[in-house]
Symmetry: C4
Subunit: 322 residues, 4 copies
């Protein structure tokens, strides 16, 4: 038997243990045996409440466009303990090559955007943070090191989120008012901590295309959700992982076609288009061109409000108690 096979057996058994720790208690029945109450309770934990789309948006506009960039850089590799210089250099690209390209593009089109930043990124690249703020953009929370919230205890999650809040506030000189959870991952405690921190909005859930109030166990929370979707994210199309099968599946011109269609219907329905990108992904040369063309197209339409997520959430919030 090959040595690698033996190593694998050990690895698999260890992984099984880990998997078992994360799976339900022994004896948990399969879902088709669950009681109706259990199903209702599972589904009802976090739900979409009132549609908060203003008609019209500020300035009499018919659609809001929120461009956001998750500034992960090296944090995804660090979280996975992947310390290969070649892997880490792909994250470094996000600051060294991509950030200026993105900031200049936004300036050229006179658009203010939102940057969700893991605190580790902010500490590694404080000048990028200053530049983002100086040009009028927003910085929002995105975890400490792109950790997965659902693997943490409530205490650990609160400590990391609080520490990240402090660091972003210190480095950027502004207190963040919004969050995008890393990997859009939600623990049972995430929403609770968001409320404790008094945040205006979250941008991690997918129950609608329209902004909505988040409900917790059927009750109002006052938190505005600016919903996201994999469709409007650069990673599923452009992600690349050498030793898995994640790789670029769709070319940039097809991504432009998809995002254009997403915008078109948002425009037609008079709602919002929230687009999630990453500097180390969309900041590459063949992709920045896509963003450039997309913005040109959107700016050619009348009644399009390009705004930061805090501005969009603020406008939506006014509808909460109407």
């Amino acid at each position: 038997m090959k040595k690698s096979t033996w190593i694998l057996v050990a690895v698999m058994l260890a992984a099984c243990e880990l998997a078992a720790q994360q799976t339900p208690p022994a004896g948990d029945p399969p879902a088709w045996q669950w009681s109706w109450e259990k199903i209702q309770s599972a589904v009802g934990k976090v739900r979409a409440g009132k549609d908060l789309t203003p008609k019209p948006w500020p300035g009499g506009n018919r659609v809001a466009v929120g461009l956001s960039f998750d500034v992960d850089n090296e944090t995804g590799s660090l979280r996975d303990n992947n310390l290969s210089p070649s892997e880490l250099s792909q994250g470094e690209y996000g600051s060294r090559a991509a950030m200026k390209r993105i900031l200049d593009l936004l300036d050229r089109f006179k658009i203010k955007a939102t940057f969700f930043v893991p605190a580790v990124t902010a500490k590694l690249y404080p000048n990028d943070m200053k530049e983002i703020i100086a040009r009028g953009h927003e910085i929002g929370l995105h975890g400490w090191i792109h950790e997965r919230n659902s693997q943490l205890t409530e205490l650990q999650e609160r400590q990391l989120m609080t520490k990240s809040m402090q660091i972003l506030t210190e480095i950027s000189g502004r207190k963040p008012v919004g969050i995008r959870t890393p990997s859009w991952d939600y623990s049972p405690s995430t929403l609770k901590i968001i409320r404790e921190l008094g945040l205006l909005y979250d941008s991690s859930l997918m129950a609608d295309d329209r902004p909505y109030e988040v409900l917790f166990e059927g009750k109002r929370t006052g938190v505005v959700e600016l919903p996201v979707e994999w469709i409007a994210d650069d990673y599923p199309y452009f992600g690349m992982s050498r030793f898995s099968t994640i790789r670029p599946h769709i070319g940039p011109k097809d991504v432009l076609d998809i995002w254009t269609k997403e915008f078109d219907v948002a425009y037609q329905e008079g709602t919002a288009f929230i687009l999630t990108m990453h500097p180390h992904i969309s900041g590459h040369r063949s992709r920045i061109v896509v963003l450039d063309q997309l913005i040109q197209y959107m700016q050619s339409r009348q009644g399009v409000w390009f705004a930061r997520h805090d501005e969009i959430a603020g406008a939506a919030k006014t509808r909460m108690d109407q």
Copy 2:
């Protein structure tokens, strides 16, 4: 946790599904050692019988088009015990954002369609069911919680299917006459229970593009099959699963091209075009546009009969004893 461990966990869960799907008795010899009788028996269990395509279809039409929507919403996540609010919100989208868009589109084109609904979906969203019926569409069976039939005993499968039948009848006020099995999965008992329930048709098998009578061990069953295919399903192109490699591989304009070609040959051959979609997949903005354009194209041709699956199966049934 290390990335490798995460990937292993995902890989193991996928392997679990695979293992659960295929569990021949221990010591079963490899297929190349099987007797001819064993091969014949395996292949001959469920087969395609008589071609039931009417020439012409009702109204003198040359082709039948059956649009169907599997209203899975949260049931796929529930079945997999994936209770993350972010995951579940993707299913909630199917009701909250997608359903109205789809129903309005069908109304605009004056098309009646078929919705295959897991009973859990019907209980979670009874108003959607009432709306589907009120607009003249059909509701068909699609399991209890999108369970996999081949993992159940015959008794369990019968209980779930019977319970689902009762719930859909109560909520929609109509007794379903057709079924699409969840994941198009067939146990050795599935066809037997379909006959016990007296259903007119099934829409889960793939032996032809034309409607046909299903044979069981070489004998006629009286059940009409409206065959499906992955090619004419939105999931293989648009599916997205964060921790597996399922993701959007093909852009909407290429899907439009594929489905147009499928229709064109159905039209030319004078048969049927059965299209499987999901509200939480095809109800998204960049995809509803594809369906819109596809319908416009199909309606531009003469002799196209848009009908519910029960109507198509009814027309096919008249050929059964001719």
Copy 3:
């Protein structure tokens, strides 16, 4: 721990044993420690010999086009012990819906092609075999039940290949002169048995685009190779497997573009274009259109010789001792 996790652990350990049986003896060093002799011996087992491209091809033509169809139908599912009626119905489609479409297309363009048929397919569908022969096409070997040769002993492989030879001869009335190994899989014994059976040609290797003589341990074998490639195969683009991540990655119009380019360079270089398809894959409506358009394009050029594989191999063989 979930029940499924326990099942997985057992499954994985069993799989490890199987894997170990197929991997090199314990203690086999990693490749970077191998001696130069070991590397040379591994690489030199089966190699490409003399280029056998005739200049010109028969009839003064500049390029040979060999269309082939591997008639797998249900054999892939049977080999994998996947006896789900839904899975098997996808293979049944190959005979019931696809075969007539393909044969009619070939007749319409007056093209003779080659069908590589597992003997189990021939026994399940003897009428398809008679029709193939009646229309002037060739039938070649493709294993018994699409088994993997590299998992068999030499004796087992010889018995299955000999039995398949007899069955194809009986059913089709012609003795096959060529083989395409299932999955293009080669055991250390495959080439030896091919020579024992006195076959004219093999079509399973990929060392060139041009026909060549196969060398065994550096010595001539007299066997003509008509080389294949995944690029010129429908499966990598259109394959679909529910519980793996194999699915349609590329749309038919892009496949048409790829195959057109492959033909164009074959035409320009004056060699051969061997195209591998499967009735249950390319016989579908949105794909038969691609083949139709490809043939139209190729027939629009001067000097293209459409021929069966036995004819192409025969023409190549005349170059062997020149």
Copy 4:
């Protein structure tokens, strides 16, 4: 053997690779618990230093284009102990069919390129090496048998790299001055050995689109980096592995679109475009056409300097101490 078992075997082999790639000490805490010093040290090991882009490039040109070919041939299969004749024949194609096509194309466009060659390839195909040199191209290091550096001890890595240096020098008559590590894999010792060997440049990291000086633990190394990217590599788009899910995801005309966009922005920004290809991948008929069209497009612009990697690195090096 069951399909599930086959898939598990494939999955396990992939997991073996993953496990081997990432082996932190047992008990290593998750990344979110690391000290800031540990994070800084991990990130700071190998970094990008000074931007070395000359303004202008030699000859007054505004952009440098470096075409490179990693001549892996059979080495990837050998490294993985995959000795199937069918697999190995795919590597043989790289020499037998692809190399002449590529060399002739380069001659036709009067372009000098760089070939990174595993020493095993050089020994198996010494005539290809002589031909590469005779036509004015460069040969660079690419490991012994495409081994993974991060799986070796420092001693093993040094021995293999030194041996490869000697063999390439003997066979080609030139001492290599640059390296591309196999799989762009970097051990903690790789950069150290590169400096010991006195190489001018490396081409394996991804922190920028512009040439830069590599820093080791914050200190200058004098090594020029010509950065690479998966976006500008043929493998992620065209790779094919029968028993994994690596397969062609994107058609050649979309790859042409991506690479054209990459070049366009490089041209606009006045930097460099480094393109990584493989003879056994891009040398195929439907792909060589892409390279042909890409070169035609690039040659239609003014101020484009096509050069070998050693020339580009040499020009960049002149900026190092300015």
